[in-house]
Amino acid sequence: MKNQKNKIFGSIIAVVLLIGIVFIINDNRKASHVHSSANELRQNNQILVNDTTNEPSSHTNDIIRYHGDLANNYNTVTELTYDSEAIYKVEVINSKSFEYEGVVFTVSTANVVENYKGDVISSFVNILETGGNYNNTEYVFEDSSVLKSGDKAVVYLKKYEGPIPEAQGAFVISGVYQGKFNIDEASGDLLVPAAVEQQELTEVRSLIDLNLE
């Protein structure tokens, strides 16, 4: 009886040890991935610095990235849907970038192809985004490029309120870029989330994932 108990106890310990080892290996993999990515970034940065200090290259000077502290942050489709005033499938007709108090913005005029939420006052909607192409430089908020002419996307929108003259009457993307899902026609209308590492939002691939169909 005592032997049997010892055997059971030993088995439990063995299973715990096994699980522990598996977890440790996985976590080490994650950690080394983060650090190898960091090393890649550092190497890339080294290339950037070398290029710009020794041989100025138009390519390396072309992109300026905005890193921000988001006022509204969404992790799930439900949160996005609840907080957005309008949800449209749009096709961008034209975009115009400009500078306001040192920050580059873009207002895109888009044709509303499908309305999933909110009133459609006209068949067009103006969308204000932070970033854009201005004076031969691309300004990108985190990793999200602004909409450009011809782009198709599903966008979660909120009314813009503020002083920017070009944006009066316009909407902004909920969560700056989190509520934007570009439609990739080449891959059979797959949705490409602008959000990165944003739990559920990053995994969205279709309208079904957004509960819009």
Binding site: F9, I13, V16, L17, I19, G20, I21, F23, I24, D27, N28, K30, A31, V34, H35, S37, A38, L41, R42, N44, N45, Q46, L48, T52, T53, T60, N61, I64, R65, Y66, H67, G68, D69, L70, A71, N72, N73, N75, Y100, E101, G102, V103, F105, L128, T130, Y139, F141, D143, K158, Y160, E161, G162, P163, I164, A167, V172, I173, G175, V176, E197
Partner: protein, 173 residues
């Protein structure tokens, strides 16, 4: 014997939990933008914002030994400003400009958006500036609310650099 085995098992269980909370920090696309942590800055912040920005600089100085020296010259490394940009969705941004300095080529613009930050307490503003200064070092975002590099409304509950933020900076500089 049983005690030893229990101790080993307990330690392993603990180890499975600990690694997931280590290395939450990430790097922004620019990696290490500056050669060291001795920064010069120029501030055009209004009264309600300059205090919290100074407090944030003091926080980072204490945490990692960074120095911030006020400068009026054009070759400053950080420029602080505040404006009302409206409901753009961001409290503040930091952007890296390529400007030729002697040994490196970055100027960071830290911009506060009065639309959102106007209603914040001084302590919360300190947290936002501290977060932006983390980007100046080259840190990216985390999802751990107990780190300064977590976004405000992603549930950030701290306003000063935490161990993970410090480890992130120390791994770069």
């Amino acid at each position: 014997m049983k005690k030893t085995v229990s101790l080993i098992a307990g330690s392993l269980i603990l180890l499975t939990v600990l690694p997931s909370s280590i290395f939450a920090y990430t790097y922004s696309d620019n990696g290490k933008p500056f050669p060291d942590m001795n920064f010069t800055y120029y501030s055009t912040l209004s009264a309600n914002y300059s205090g919290p920005a100074s407090a944030a600089m003091t926080d980072w100085s204490r945490a990692v030994g960074a120095t911030y020296t006020a400068s009026n010259s054009t070759s400053k490394e950080i420029h602080f400003s505040d404006n009302d940009y409206g409901a753009t969705g961001w409290n503040a941004t930091t952007d890296h400009h390529h400007v030729q300095f002697s040994s490196y080529d970055y100027l960071d613009e830290v911009r506060a958006n009065r639309h959102y930050m106007g209603s914040m307490s001084a302590v919360d503003r300190e947290g936002v500036f501290g977060h932006e200064l983390g980007h100046v070092f080259g840190l990216g975002h985390t999802t751990d609310p107990w780190t300064l590099m977590c976004n405000s409304l992603n549930g950030r509950v701290v306003v000063t650099p935490q161990l993970d933020d410090i480890q992130g900076v120390e791994s770069l500089y």
